[in-house]
């Protein structure tokens, strides 16, 4: 919404208030001013001139030599190249010393040997946006089509000195979508008088009833419809003042008949429509819901297919307007129009909203109907338009407007006590202060002692409940004046839940290991949603998908963060960043059975690492990341939270290296996976060896046990033994370890693998594994025989169980 300061001044005295200050006051009190435009030009050296004579320049075919009266004793000779300049015109003259928008400074000059004292200007040269320049003046100078005072400064006449506020209106303040509403607002802020129009017309004896009847089929969609016949109209250009105002609001003037409805829309916020009566085709307006599939051609020439939720203005047979949105072509006002049917109606906001959004037809009119126009002003707006038709187009107003339905509205009363307001704001407003605010807002009220009853007028349809009044008092009193306090209620401890605390610990741990926290989108492609899904997630169902995705890139909800993390790795590698470690902690979204059942959101942590993990920059040491780097990180994580061990069980998963992948299991239950990307996947992503894991954190948290099982530190010495075996290469170390552990009881406390060897000096398909065993008895010193016995048992069992060869 654009608000002209010059226009506003007509209703409320804001003379002397700097526009910047006014804008700030309006912003702080209720409506955000997004910007201040203008003034375009305010230069006293730009004046009205009268072309006394115009002849061709003696030395140039395309130039004219004009003698212009600029209100001084002598005529000014001005050379002008515009094709439309002529004797007898009132024009705009920029005198020497004037400065035009764009910086052009006017000087006395000689053009082709003739003196030129200034410049006769086009609207564009004066800084008017081309879209507001009438077509016939686009290639020439501006010519006043009414008599103006010669020598008078031209900028105010063309409203170039105006400033315009651009408002960012919130949906609740539809009352400020018009000049009168803004005048109320500004008058309340500055406690000023209001001068509002009180339109009146001379009504002809002839009655509109003889020309038109109105029938409303659906009173919910169309509570009120007024039709007024205005005859004897003459289509012409609107006067300058009206054109100026339309332009200040960003509306292009067309002709007086059209401009008047636009003007009233801006002034009162009431959209009106003028049908050409002679083209309307009947003596009856019938407003009705559209038939299913019915079509009509709107003003923009487009054929619209309609549904019963759309409201039509018809002549009883064929539609002439999509109510509140756009008129039809057939009954459009044209240059030969002499009689109009003026529509002043109230349409249901939702009905208009459906029509405008479904047909993508947002207009100044629909925007206002959608937010609800002021019922009390529908008729007054019609009167204002009629007054202007009479005054500016020579119209004859036929009797009373023909009306159907009602503009009555359920009266709203808000009753409250003074303390209820103060308790909510945190102030001590007195009765006087409250009364003052209500009077400034011009809200009818009754006050008896502490008790108030406010009856908001229909223009403030947003005021319904106590809290709405709280806002009125707070904003007029001024948010700046409200004190700073903190709540003083009962204390409570606040803080994080166990899950939240654990989540933060996971973050801290992973960051400590060297991983960067990453954030990727939850919505991914259909293709990506199928990959790297941990096997414990039921994959027979498709990922949750959007009804109407904006792009295929974000159509499905992820089941793993890995695909997007890989894209992040790829993004970095493409920018020469090769050593990368990312993790992301967040939800994945498991589909649930049933149409409107929420997906199950599961907290998972995923990581992806690639490149050099350890290096010594000037000693040439570079160690790329491997499986055990990432496994070590995971083991550290599990160790931090869990007492029960997490098993890494060799597995084969799509997208991962079949020889370097493991499922993670607690108590036999899968909680995720770890592995190297399959070489082909690595290649697809332009990645070197890359390792990933994806773990269900919720499951990990279920098993969390962090109470330490304290054991006194024993004073009896531990005995260490080393054992090495040669076994088939595919035998898992974990299995041998389990056997050793079992056989080593009761004194075997710890097993550590300290060497694994495969390759040269080793039979093909075999590997050597060396274990370091620690025996200890907490009650006494172990005897050598006890350790030796255990050692023998272990060696025998491992040889037997794994066809192992004992190496020493």
């Amino acid at each position: 919404m654009l608000v002209s300061i010059n226009w506003l001044k007509e209703y409320v005295d804001i003379e002397g208030i700097p526009t910047g200050e006014l804008a700030e006051a309006i912003t702080k009190t209720g409506v955000e001013v997004d910007g201040i435009h203008g003034p375009i030009l305010n230069d006293d050296k730009i004046v009205v001139g009268y072309v006394e004579a115009c002849e061709q320049h003696p030395n140039a075919d395309k130039l004219n030599l004009c003698q212009v009266n600029v209100g001084e004793e002598e005529l000014a000779q001005i050379v002008c190249g515009a094709p439309n300049v002529a004797q007898g015109q009132y024009v705009v003259v920029a005198r020497p010393g004037a400065r035009l928008p764009g910086g052009l400074k006017i000087k006395k000059a000689k053009l082709r040997g003739e003196a030129s004292e200034g410049m006769i200007c086009s609207l564009q040269e004066l800084g008017v946006d081309e879209k507001f320049v009438p077509d016939h003046q686009k290639d020439g100078i501006f010519v006043f089509d009414e008599e103006v005072q010669i020598g008078e400064p031209a900028c105010p006449l063309l409203n170039l000195n105006d400033q315009v506020l651009e408002l960012d209106l919130t949906p609740n303040r539809a009352d400020c979508l018009n000049m009168v509403g803004m005048a109320y607002e500004v008058a309340a802020i500055y406690n000023k008088e209001l001068q509002l129009p009180s339109p009146a017309v001379t009504k002809a004896d002839e009655s509109s009833k003889d020309y038109i009847a109105v029938r409303i089929e659906n009173k919910e969609m169309n509570p009120y419809y007024g039709a007024w016949i205005i005859k004897d109209l003459e289509v012409k250009s609107s006067p300058l003042w009206l054109r100026n105002r339309l332009i200040s609001a960003g509306i292009r003037p067309i002709n007086n008949l059209v401009d008047i409805t636009n003007y009233v829309l801006l002034e009162y916020g009431q959209p009106l429509h003028a049908f050409d009566y002679d083209r309307f085709g009947s003596k009856e307006v019938v407003t009705r819901p559209a038939h299913e599939g019915e079509t009509m051609t709107t003003l923009d020439g487009k054929e619209r297919t309609l549904q019963p939720e759309h409201l039509l203005i018809t002549n009883g047979e064929k539609p002439h307007a999509l109510a509140g949105v756009m008129g039809g072509q057939d009954s459009e006002v044209q240059d030969d129009t002499t009689t109009i049917l003026l529509e002043a109606a109230y349409f249901d906001p939702r009905t208009v909203r459906k029509a405008s959004s479904q047909h993508n037809l947002r207009s100044e009119a629909s925007a206002r109907f959608e937010k609800g126009v002021d019922l009390a002003r529908v008729k007054e707006a019609a009167m204002r338009a009629a007054e202007l038709y009479e005054e500016l187009a020579g119209g004859t107003i036929l009797g009373e407007m023909v009306e159907e339905g009602s503009t009555d509205r359920e009266p709203v009363q808000i009753t409250f006590e003074r303390h209820e307001i103060n308790e909510r704001i945190g102030t001590e407003l007195s009765i006087d202060q409250m009364n003052d605010i209500l009077e400034r807002l011009r809200l009818p009220y009754e006050q008896q002692g502490e008790q108030y009853t406010v009856t908001p007028p229909s223009r403030r349809n947003d005021l319904r409940i106590l809290e709405d009044m709280v806002e009125e008092f707070a904003r007029l009193y001024g948010y700046d004046h409200i004190p700073y306090t903190l709540p003083t209620g009962q204390s409570n401890k606040g803080g994080l839940t166990k899950r939240q605390r654990l989540t933060r610990e996971v973050h801290a741990y992973l960051q400590k290991t060297g991983l960067n926290e990453a954030l990727t989108y939850s919505l991914t492609t259909e293709e990506k949603s199928k990959h790297f899904v941990s096997p414990e997630i039921q994959t027979d169902q498709e990922a949750v998908k959007l009804m109407m995705p904006m792009t295929d890139l974000h159509s499905h909800l992820r089941l793993s963060a890995i695909p997007e993390l890989l894209s992040s790795l790829q993004y970095n590698v493409a920018r020469n960043q090769y050593n990368l470690g990312f993790y992301e902690l967040g939800s994945v979204y498991l589909p649930n059975a049933g149409e409107d059942v929420l997906p199950k959101e599961e907290l998972r942590v995923a990581a992806a690492i690639t490149g050099i993990w350890e290096n010594h920059p000037w000693q040439g040491e570079k160690k790329p990341v491997d499986f055990f780097v990432l496994k070590g990180i995971l083991e550290g994580l599990f160790e931090h939270f869990l007492k029960s061990p997490v098993d890494f069980e060799k597995a084969s998963l799509a997208g991962l290296h079949p020889g370097r992948t493991a499922l993670l299991k607690i108590d036999g239950e899968t909680i995720g996976y770890i592995g190297q990307l399959h070489p082909t996947v690595q290649k697809d992503h332009d990645l070197d060896e890359t390792y990933v894991f994806d773990v269900n954190l919720k499951k990990v948290f279920d098993y969390v046990d962090k109470t330490p099982d304290y054991e006194a530190i024993t004073k009896y010495p531990a005995v260490s033994q080393d054992l090495a075996f040669v076994v088939n290469a595919e035998i898992a170390a974990k299995e041998i370890e389990a056997t050793i552990y079992e056989q080593g009881q009761p004194y075997l406390k710890d097993i550590r693998i300290f060497d694994v060897y495969q390759g040269e000096h080793m039979e093909e398909g075999k590997k050597s594994i060396a274990f370091n065993l620690t025996f200890q008895n907490n009650e006494r010193t172990l005897k050598d025989e006890e350790v030796d016995e255990a050692r023998e048992r272990i060696i025998e069992k491992v040889k037997e169980a794994f066809s192992a060869e004992f190496r020493g």
């Binding site: 209720g30 910007g35 809290e467 806002e471 707070a474 700046d480 700073y484 306090t485 606040g494 290991t513």
Partner: protein, 344 residues
């Protein structure tokens, strides 16, 4: 014999001086003081001496032995010292060379911003509340005073999954859910962070996914001034003690009155510059008193209870604080971007 001892002493001192390693010094020790050493030899020959001479020569021999021992020890200490000095010299490194890099992981700046705000409010007795990112139309809209067909639903075009389910457009449904769970009894003091989604095309200032963090405090006697005081604490915590705040009216369906909070522009200190669009103020967050409809729908008596709520975008806060120019940086995970904020 006396002369013999004197010459042994002389000989020993010469050899000690000549010894340049611990090993050769040890040889000298053996040669003179060992069991078969020269001093021992002299002492063995003492039997031939007279009774009178014996103690004199004995004493002299002991003196010579002590002097040689002392010299050897001195020399040994000297050699030790020289050896250490040589070792130190040999071990000298260029301390200006770079160290071995350690792994430097760190948090994402958005999560860091969120945790920072969480911690501020935890300190004031708030709990952190979370909720689903896929929401029902009811909690995302209806329970927040946004019935179907409400024009304000326009303001946040949404990503729907079914007619009834959608990607939440704000974290406010967590407020509705938490209020419901409290069954009409206050106080409710929560801070709700999380991901939210809108029907926006990604560009420098829009993202279809972003984060929000909201606060809610419902109790008896909660006032607009309590909101103002709380927001003042928040603004100063985030942007510095010297920032001023201002509230101005706004509109959100779930609060009444609704306000927006601006902070004074740090760049121009309120004089007006391009950062603050020449207003001297920068918009930070939306807030208000909880709409009675929201309270009543969640089972709270709106005559007894009032509350305030506020919500902000961590992206916007981080962008303002650090001058980040493109919202997409938060989601592309360029390490050159991420690492800049690890120290924050």
């Amino acid at each position: 014999m006396k002369e013999r001892l004197q010459s042994i002493k002389q000989e020993a001192i010469t050899e000690i001086e000549a010894a340049d390693t611990q090993k050769s010094l040890q040889d000298v020790r053996v040669q003179f003081l060992g069991k078969k050493g020269k001093i021992t030899e002299v002492l063995k020959g003492m039997g031939k001496l007279s009774k009178e001479e014996r103690p004199v020569i004995g004493q002299l021999a002991n003196e010579v032995r002590d002097q040689i021992t002392e010299s050897i020890e001195e020399k040994a200490a000297l050699l030790e010292k020289q050896a250490i000095e040589e070792q130190l010299k040999a071990e000298t490194i260029d301390v200006t060379l770079p160290g071995r890099p350690t792994h430097t992981g760190g948090p994402h700046i958005l999560m860091k911003t969120i945790r920072d705000i969480e911690d501020l409010f935890i300190g004031m007795g708030y709990e952190v509340a979370e909720g689903p990112e896929v929401e029902t139309d009811y909690y995302n809209f209806e329970a927040l005073n946004l019935p179907k067909g409400h024009p304000a639903r326009d303001m946040q075009d949404s990503l729907y999954i079914t007619e009834e389910l959608l990607m939440r457009t704000h974290t406010s449904p967590v407020q509705a859910r938490t209020l419901n769970a409290h069954e009409g009894r206050g106080p409710v003091k929560i801070i709700c962070p999380g991901k939210v989604y809108r029907r926006d095309t990604d560009d420098a200032t829009h993202s279809h996914q972003f984060t929000q963090i909201e606060g809610l405090y419902v109790d008896e006697h909660i006032t607009m001034s309590d909101l103002k005081g709380t927001l003042n604490v928040l603004a100063k915590h985030l942007f510095g003690e010297d920032r001023e705040i201002r509230l101005r009216p706004s509109f959100f369906p779930f609060t009444e009155p609704s306000v927006e909070m601006d902070i004074s522009c740090k760049v121009c200190n309120g004089d007006g510059c391009s950062v603050c669009k020449h207003t001297g103020w920068i918009e930070i967050l939306g807030a208000g008193l909880v709409h009675p409809n929201v309270l009543e729908m969640a089972g709270f008596d709106s005559k007894k209870y009032t509350g305030f709520a506020f919500g902000m975008g961590p992206e916007r806060i981080a962008m303002l604080k650090y001058g980040i120019e493109d919202i997409r940086h938060f989601y592309t995970n360029d390490v050159r971007f991420l690492k800049q904020f690890h120290q924050v």
